[in-house]
C-alpha cells in the first residue's frame, strides 16, 4: 500500500525539479502527498492538518538550495519540521533531591508497561541506582507474578501486597518499603486501563496524590492508530504526564503515534522499546523517528549529502563577503534563514574560541516569529535600500513599516540589529584572518 504512495511522492517531486523558488502551488501539491504519507503512517488526523498548514506557511517562497531540487527541498523542510516537533533526545528521568524518586508507569492494556518497568529498572541499575519494582496491577491475572519473574531475572526486588490489596495502598506501602530498604528509585507498574474508564482513571489520580511521583511515564504502543491522541490527551489532562515511552518499535510500523502523542502533550519521548529482551530499551532519536514516519530514507540521505556540499560553498561565499565588508540586508535575511536551519547563531558562534563573550551576540538572537516580520520588512525595501541602508530615513522607515504591516519601531530594531551584525562580522572577519594564519578556518566545512 505504502510503496504506491512513496513512488507517487517521488513522481510529484520529480515534477517539481528545476525551479528556483517554491511557489504556493508547488508546495501545496507536494504537501498533499506528504499528508497522505503521514496519515498512512497513523499520525493523527488533526496533528497532520496542523502540521501541513504550518509547513506550508514556512515553505512557500523559500529559495531552493542550489544543490537540491525543489522537491528535495520540500522533503527536507518536512523532515526538519517533524524532527523538531518530535523534540530532542531525552533519555533521562528527573531524580528527586531526596530519595526515593517515584516513577509511575501508566497506559492502555497491552501497551507494554510491565516489560517497560522491568527494562527501566535494568537501565537504572546500570546507572548505579538501586531500583524497587512495585506491583500495582491487581486486575490482570498473573500480572504481579509477571513482574516478580522479571525482578528475579534482573535481580531487582519486587514489592507486592497480592492482588486483593488496593493499588493506592500498594503504591504507598511500596514507597515506604523503599525508604526502609534504602532503594532510591521506585517504579510503580499499574494496570492497563482505557482512558475513558473514569473509575480506573480516578484510581491513578489517587495513586498520584498518595505517592507524589516525580515522573509519570505514559507507555504507548508504537502501532497505535488515530486513538493515540485521545489516549495521550486524557492521560495528560488527568495526571499531567512527564514523559512517554514508545514500545514495540522493533515492529514494521511507521510509528506515527509517536508524533501524535508528542504533538498533543508536548511531553518528551524519553525511551523506546525495541525488543522483548530486557536490555532492549533505547534513548529516543527524533531524526530516526522522523525519517521512519516519513518513510523516505533514501531521499533523505541524498539530501544530506547535497546539503553538506551546499553549506560548504555558501559558507565560503559568506566569509568572502564578510572580509570585504559587503554584507547587505539581503545577506542578512539569507543568513537568518540559514541560521534557522543550523541552530541559533549565538550558539554557533559561541562554540568558537573567544566569540562567546562578544556582547553584540546578545542582540542578534533570532526569534522564530520575528523572522516572519524581518522577512516582510526587508522585502518592503527597495533594492537600493537593501544595499545601502544608510539612506533609510524617517519617511522611508514609515513607508517600509506600512508596506510590511509592521511598525516603525520594528523597522528601527531590525536596522539596529543589522548594524550590530555587520559590526560583529567585521570583528569576526578580523579574527578569521588571524586564525587562518594560525591554520584554523572557522567557517570551513563543518
Amino acid at each position: 500500500m505504502f510503496e504506491n504512495l512513496s513512488s507517487k511522492l517521488q513522481e510529484t517531486f520529480k515534477r517539481l525539479r528545476g525551479k528556483g523558488k517554491l511557489t504556493e502551488a508547488d508546495v501545496s501539491e507536494a504537501l498533499r502527498e506528504v499528508r497522505l504519507a503521514l496519515l498512512e503512517a497513523d499520525v493523527n488526523f488533526r496533528v497532520v492538518k496542523d502540521f501541513v498548514a504550518r509547513v506550508k506557511e514556512k515553505a512557500v517562497g523559500i529559495e531552493v538550495l542550489e544543490a537540491l531540487s525543489p522537491g528535495q527541498q520540500v522533503i527536507k523542510i518536512v523532515n526538519d519540521e517533524i524532527t523538531a516537533l518530535l523534540g530532542g533526545t531525552n533519555a533521562r528521568l528527573s531524580i528527586a533531591p531526596k530519595p526515593p524518586t517515584v516513577v509511575l508507569m501508566v497506559g492502555l492494556q497491552g501497551a507494554g508497561k510491565t516489560t517497560a518497568s522491568g527494562k527501566l529498572s535494568a537501565w537504572l541499575k546500570k546507572q548505579g541506582k538501586r531500583p524497587l519494582l512495585v506491583a500495582a496491577d491487581v486486575y490482570r491475572p498473573a500480572a504481579i507474578k509477571q513482574l516478580q519473574v522479571l525482578g528475579q531475572q534482573l535481580d531487582v526486588p519486587v514489592f507486592s501486597l497480592g492482588s486483593d490489596a488496593d493499588p493506592v495502598d500498594i503504591a504507598r506501602a511500596g514507597v515506604e518499603s523503599a525508604v526502609k530498604q534504602g532503594r532510591d528509585v521506585v517504579l510503580v507498574d499499574t494496570a492497563g486501563r482505557l482512558q475513558v474508564d473514569d473509575a480506573l482513571m480516578q484510581e491513578l489520580e489517587n495513586i498520584k496524590a498518595a505517592v507524589h511521583p516525580h515522573e509519570i511515564l505514559l507507555v504507548v504502543d508504537a502501532m497505535t492508530g488515530q486513538e493515540a491522541v485521545s489516549v495521550a490527551e486524557t492521560f495528560n489532562q488527568r495526571l499531567g504526564i512527564d514523559g512517554v515511552v514508545i514500545t514495540k518499535l522493533d515492529s514494521d510500523t511507521r510509528g506515527g503515534a509517536a508524533l501524535s502523542v508528542r504533538a498533543v502533550t508536548g511531553r518528551p519521548i524519553k525511551f523506546v522499546g525495541t525488543g522483548e529482551k530486557l536490555d532492549a530499551l533505547e534513548p529516543f532519536h527524533p531524526d530516526r523517528m522522523a525519517s521512519r514516519i516519513l518513510g523516505m530514507g533514501d531521499v533523505l540521505s541524498l539530501i544530506e549529502k547535497a546539503q553538506a556540499q551546499f553549506d560548504e560553498k555558501q559558507a565560503m561565499e559568506m566569509s568572502q563577503k564578510m572580509r570585504k565588508a559587503e554584507f547587505t540586508l539581503d545577506d542578512f535575511l539569507q543568513q537568518l534563514r540559514q541560521v534557522r536551519q543550523m541552530g541559533p547563531l549565538d550558539q554557533l558562534l559561541g562554540m568558537l574560541p573567544g566569540m562567546g563573550q562578544l556582547k553584540q551576540l546578545k542582540n542578534v538572537k533570532v526569534d522564530e516569529k520575528e523572522l516572519v516580520h524581518v522577512e516582510a520588512i526587508i522585502q518592503s525595501m527597495t533594492a537600493q535600500e537593501r544595499r545601502s541602508p544608510d539612506i533609510i530615513n524617517g519617511s522611508r522607515r514609515k513607508r517600509i513599516a506600512r508596506g510590511s504591516g509592521t511598525t516603525v519601531q520594528e523597522v528601527n530594531r531590525l536596522l539596529r540589529q543589522f548594524e550590530e551584525s555587520k559590526k560583529m562580522m567585521k570583528q569576526f572577519a578580523g579574527m578569521e584572518k588571524a586564525m587562518r594564519k594560525a591554520g584554523r578556518v572557522p567557517f570551513g566545512p563543518r
Binding site: 497491552g110 491475572p141 514494521d252
Partner: protein
Amino acid sequence: MGWFDRLKSGLSRTREGLVGRITSIVTGAGRIDEDLYDELEETLIQADVGVETSLHLVEHLRKAVARERISDPEQLPGLLKDRIREIMGQETAPLNLQSGGLTVMMVVGVNGVGKTTTIGKLAQQLKEEGRRVLLAAGDTFRAAAIDQLEVWGQRTGVDVIRHQEGADPAAVAFDAIAAARSRGADVVIVDTAGRLHTKSNLMEELKKVRRVIDREVPGAPHETLLVLDATTGQNAVQQAKAFSSAVDVSGIVLTKLDSTAKGGVVIAIARELNIPVKIIGIGEKAEDLRPFNPGEFVDALFTR
C-alpha cells in the same frame, strides 16, 4: 437485552464516533460539495479506516452520486453503509466447530493484543454451550503467561495443559491434544506467545506448532484466530498479511472495542485480504465476547 442490543451498546462509542459525526456533517451541510466529501474522508480516516480505503469509499460515493443524480446529502450515510457492508460480507462467520470429534483452535497475534484474555472468554462461552474445553498454555515465553492462562482456567472451570516456562510450544500443543483425547474433550484452544509479525524465527516457531497440530489431528487447526487490537492503526494490515501467510489465518478477533477506538482498519483488511472477522472483545471480563456479525456490525455502526 438481546445480543444485538448489547452489541449495539458495546459499539455505541464506535457508532457515535463514526456515524454521529457523519450524520451531523450531512444534516449540517445542506448540499453535497467538496467540503462534505473532505469531511467524510476525514471521519473515515479518524476511524482508522486508512487512506486507501477511505479514498475508495469516498470515490464510491462520488460515483454513486453522479450516477444516480443524488442531491440530498442525507442519502450519503446509507450509501456508505451499503458499500462497507458489501466489503465486510453479509453473513455472520461462525467458528468452525466440528460436530463429531476434536476441534483444535490456535490463537495468534502480536504482543498484548488480548490473545490469552480472548481464550479465557472463549473457554467460558464454549463451556456454557455444553462443550468440554481444554486449554494449552503455549505461551512459554512471556513471564507468568502460563499462570495467566491458569487463572482463566480456574475462573471458567476448564483444565489447562502446561509445561515449564521456556518449553517448546509445539510440545505443549501435542500434549494438550493427547490429553483431550484421553479425557474426551471436544475443543482444544492453543494459546501462543505474542510475537511481532516481522520476526521470522518466531513465525517459524508458529508454523511448527501448526504443523504438529495438523499432524496429530488431520485437518486441524480448524480455526487459526488472529487477534487484533482495535486501537492499532494501519499496521494491523501488515499483521494480518504476515500471520496469514505463515499460519493461514481463518478468522480475526477484534479486541478492545469497548474503548473509543473505532477499529476501522478491519474494513481495510476485509477489502485486501478477505479474512472474516469472527469475534469481538468488548471488555476484560469472561462474558465480554461477542460474535462479529458483519451485517449487524455495520447496522449497529450506522443506526442512530
